[in-house]
Symmetry: C2
Subunit: 163 residues, 2 copies
């Protein structure tokens, strides 16, 4: 059985949400997923898509997901792709589906003339890190992402700009 | 003189590119900026903008820049804003322009019902880190961004998906 990677369709929505929750569980954060099928439909298939998805099939079942969006490099002057979620269901790992999803995304990046493909990895996820290094991905070791959300975001938003 | 933060206009393009190069110099990477004014015009003011910019003025001169784009949270089901470049020219630092740009972006994030504002910081940029922590931004310490580009991207793209 060969893996099949294709663009996600609207009929995949429930399954995609399930894969998002499964991935969050693996990251010990399933309780943090608040996304509804309706929100996901708007994001992926609405008039102005916020994100895009490839799915991997095995035996006609969707068992893997690569959810991504476009970012922008001020140094290169062109887009890149940012892979937000890459996930393959536990019992289907080891058959090359994750690799197939990532390689398909690399192909898409290059086809469109974009400069780079990026994604974030949890520092304790050694099997993933080993795989990413093996294909030549470079860790942005010097950089840390900062996040403003919740009460701190609201407080910042309420700060007068002139002072 | 109060700082003024406003949306970037097409007439700001040359100045915006200069600020991008200045920031890259500060990050010891000016030689890596390949972006042209034309690319930047398409990205910021084309029919399908890839990115957006706020500028800070001092004495009617553009001296600061916040360049950002929309990302997407699969856990929240909504957009966030990702601040790609935040920069204020050296001689105009200390007057609150950087803070005014960031707070304006926080306001925009909240107004649109987005979940969060994120950005990456160089680990040796302690003044910036201190400032970001002081407003309640949280470092995503457990995560590292991996990047696939150049020859490694081309090799990945050429890998057959079925094997």
């Amino acid at each position: 059985m060969d893996p099949c990677v294709r663009e996600a369709r609207e009929s995949d929505l429930d399954r995609i949400l399930q894969l998002i929750v499964d991935l969050a569980s693996y990251e010990k954060s399933a309780h943090e997923v608040k996304t509804t099928t309706k929100q996901l439909r708007t994001a992926l298939f609405g008039p102005q898509p916020a994100a895009y998805a490839l799915v991997a099939e095995w035996d006609k079942q969707v068992v893997g997901l690569a959810l991504y969006f476009r970012n922008f490099s001020t140094w290169e002057g062109v887009h890149g792709l940012y892979l937000e979620d890459l996930y393959v269901m536990g019992e289907y790992r080891g058959f090359g589906l994750g690799k197939a999803l990532l390689m398909s995304l690399a192909e898409l990046t290059l086809e469109r003339g974009y400069a780079r493909l990026e994604w974030a990895v949890l520092d304790w996820n050694q099997p993933a890190i080993d795989f990413y290094r093996s294909i030549g991905a470079v860790p942005m070791d010097e950089w840390t992402v900062y996040r403003l959300s919740g009460a701190a975001l609201a407080a910042a938003a309420a700060t007068p700009v002139t002072s």
